[in-house]
């Protein structure tokens, strides 16, 4: 992200980053470290603790000709800005009959796994995907984390990028030519024929690990990284599920009303007659995230539960 931000700031002078502690502190997850020194306080704009206010300023600045990147630090605090996001950013184009758009990128960290307890561990990206007018991205790989930003900045409408907190721990080789990526399509991260595992964000690597384990049992799972949670890339999803005839969705949101439900519903609507089993779901338990490691682990999707669900779908439970 740091590199992605730097490049964006270099390429388009209308772009600026604003949010709590993005500047002097270097970003809550060190994502913007060094950028204030390089680009100055106007383009790396530290804000007071005023989530609704500065998100709204971002909306206004976007409508006024700039290309703001608003960082909401984490999804947990974004609730304070929801009115601005839903009632202004997502709606003004419609209310104005198409006259005004809000080309704004809002970034935030999401997800559990760091023992931050009930108020700091929400996974609400799937929930945000309910709102018309927004594009919702959930990068799971370093390449996407870096590449989605620039593409998002070209969009005429608001784009929310949810970066899973566990992604900040990853580092690895990335092609030096890596650049902008599309923000339209899901990616097949692992081809397979026996069932489709659908996931995104923080659960991708767990799902891939589960797929490897299944492979040793002779089960070849196709793994789809949704990447874009709104609008969903139905073509890729249905092509895969229609072929494998079995699906499990792995989703870190609370189960009831999570994105997994929408995917299951659409699979039902579109490829019901091809399905050999009901769509399985591995989600977060319906509990605010507890602090202790063992309870947090038990609450959110893990490899063993993915394996179980996959086997159940194949009638091998």
């Amino acid at each position: 992200m740091n590199q992605a931000l730097r490049e964006a700031l270099q390429r388009d002078e209308r772009i600026f980053l604003m949010g709590e502690d993005v500047g002097a502190y270097g970003g809550c997850y060190a994502v913007s470290k060094g950028l204030m020194a390089e680009f100055g306080e106007d383009r790396i704009r530290d804000t007071p603790l005023s989530e609704s206010g500065f998100t709204g300023f971002g909306i206004g600045a976007a409508a006024g000709g700039l290309r703001p990147i608003v960082e909401l630090m984490t999804v947990n605090f974004s609730l304070l800005a929801l009115d601005q996001i839903m009632n202004t950013a997502a709606t003004i184009r419609h209310m104005s009959g198409g006259q005004f758009g809000v080309p704004l990128v809002i970034r935030m960290a999401t997800g559990a796994g760091k023992q931050l307890a009930a108020q700091h561990s929400h996974s609400l990206e799937g929930w945000y995907a309910h709102i018309p007018g927004l594009r919702i991205l959930a990068p799971a790989t370093l390449e996407d984390a870096r590449g989605m930003l620039w593409t998002a900045l070209q969009e005429p409408d608001p784009v929310l990028i949810f970066e899973n907190v566990m992604l900040y721990n990853r580092s690895g080789p990335l092609d030096t030519g890596a650049g902008a990526v599309d923000i339209d399509r899901a990616a097949i991260r692992r081809p397979g024929r026996d069932l489709t595992l659908l996931t995104y964000g923080g659960s991708l690597f767990k799902t891939l690990e589960a797929a490897e384990a299944l492979s040793t049992e002779g089960i070849e799972a196709e793994v789809i990284d949704l990447r874009v949670l709104r609008p969903l890339d139905e073509a890729t999803i249905m092509a895969s599920v229609g072929r494998t005839r079995r699906a499990v969705v792995v989703d870190e949101g609370w189960r009831a009303g999570s994105l997994s439900a929408e995917i299951a519903a659409r699979i039902g609507e579109q490829v019901f007659w091809r399905m050999d089993a009901p769509v399985g779901r591995v989600c977060t338990a319906e509990v605010p995230i507890p602090y202790p490691r063992h309870l947090e682990d038990a609450a959110i999707p893990q490899v063993p539960r993915i394996l179980e669900a996959a086997r159940a779908t194949l009638g091998k439970g």
Binding site: G53, F57, S96, Q99, D157
Partner: protein, 345 residues
């Protein structure tokens, strides 16, 4: 009348009165059309508050911007949004200034920098702040005028906006249309500190209070504010004390105030007072006023006819305007170089 302090030509006086009467007569007609169910949803009239829009908006330049609330017919009209397209919008017709999608509470006009028509109390304040930020950063010299009721002052977004506006020195004229009531809640029952402009001063924002029933006082205050902002971009706060003569919206039984109170305020009405003063000062004659009325009546009749005869947007277009019609093509896939470097997010 504070007119003494400002040199008022006959033209100016006529223009002020015309602007205020045009709003009043337009809205009187809207109220009728509401009863006839031509206009639906919520309808909030500006009746009694016309001096504010009329005193402020003509001072703005074409590149300045406007953010208002659901009580914004007056602002749109004074800003020059054609009455035809305002009326068509109230009817929900495709020829309306928001394509019919918004209705009374959401008048927009990109050509005239009218950013709504916001129906969330306080919701327009950060938007205005952000527009101001864009102007500041781009050095455009433009000013955003942001209108809101005194009810918005209790909202967290008011506070966050004031602080950010002053911290970042955005060229925004915040106009509090203090009509003493937020729906049925009198200011004294909603604010621990009822002197609104002192609230803004608490953030270090230059602020003043003017008689919002006096178009000339509003104009004078606006001149001072705009001069200050244009000289050195920063926020400025203008509290305009006013009164709403009618119900909050068309669904309000007005249980919360006496008829006598309303009557007393009506005597101080911005149109009544200004008109009488202009007549007595000999700046206008009864015939001038009659001419204004005739002119506005014709304009309203034309607007209603236009709205009536305009088309409805086809149902097939339902999903339009959710996102932009045109999006950039997805970027070409990057050519892998083969070389890699260690990356962190």
């Amino acid at each position: 009348m504070s007119a003494a302090k400002i040199h008022l030509t006959r033209e100016t006086v006529r223009a002020h009165l015309h602007a205020m009467m045009r709003i009043r007569m337009f809205e009187d007609r809207c109220a009728e059309l509401y009863t006839q169910e031509k206009i639906r949803g919520f309808l909030h009239l500006y009746d009694g508050e016309e001096a504010i829009a009329a005193g402020i908006i003509p001072q703005l330049t074409a590149t300045d911007r406007i953010v208002a609330t659901y009580r914004e017919h007056g602002h749109a009209l004074v800003r020059g949004v054609p009455m035809r397209s305002v009326m068509a919008e109230m009817f929900g017709k495709a020829t309306g200034c928001s394509g019919g999608r918004g209705g009374s509470m959401h008048l927009f006009d990109a050509a005239r920098n009218v950013y709504g028509g916001n129906a969330i109390v306080g919701g327009g304040l950060p938007l205005a702040g952000g527009l101001g930020l864009a102007d500041r950063v781009q050095g455009s010299g433009a000013v955003t005028a942001c209108f809101f009721g005194e009810g918005a002052v209790a909202e967290g977004e008011f506070h966050e906006t004031m602080n950010l506006a002053q911290l970042w020195r955005v060229p925004v004229l915040f106009v509090c249309e203090n009509n003493g009531y937020a729906m049925g809640t009198a200011l004294t029952r909603s604010e621990a500190q009822t002197d609104i402009h002192t609230r803004a001063a608490g953030y270090g924002i230059p602020s003043e209070v003017v008689d919002g029933m006096d178009v000339v006082a509003v104009e004078a205050g606006t001149r001072r504010a705009l001069a200050a902002i244009r000289e050195d971009p920063h926020p400025y706060f203008l509290e305009c004390r006013t009164y709403r003569f009618r119900a909050h919206s068309m669904f309000d039984a007005q249980l919360y105030r006496d008829k006598a109170e309303v009557e007393a305020w009506r005597q101080k009405g911005p149109i009544l007072r200004f008109r009488n003063w202009a007549l007595s000062a000999g700046l206008l004659h009864e015939a001038d006023i009659a001419a204004i009325e005739t002119e506005i009546e014709a304009e309203i009749a034309d607007a209603v006819a236009f709205a009536e005869s305009s088309e409805w947007e086809p149902v097939a277009d339902l999903l339009h305007h959710v996102t932009a019609e045109a999006r950039p093509a997805p970027p070409p896939p990057a050519e892998p170089t083969g070389a890699t470097a260690t990356a962190r997010p």
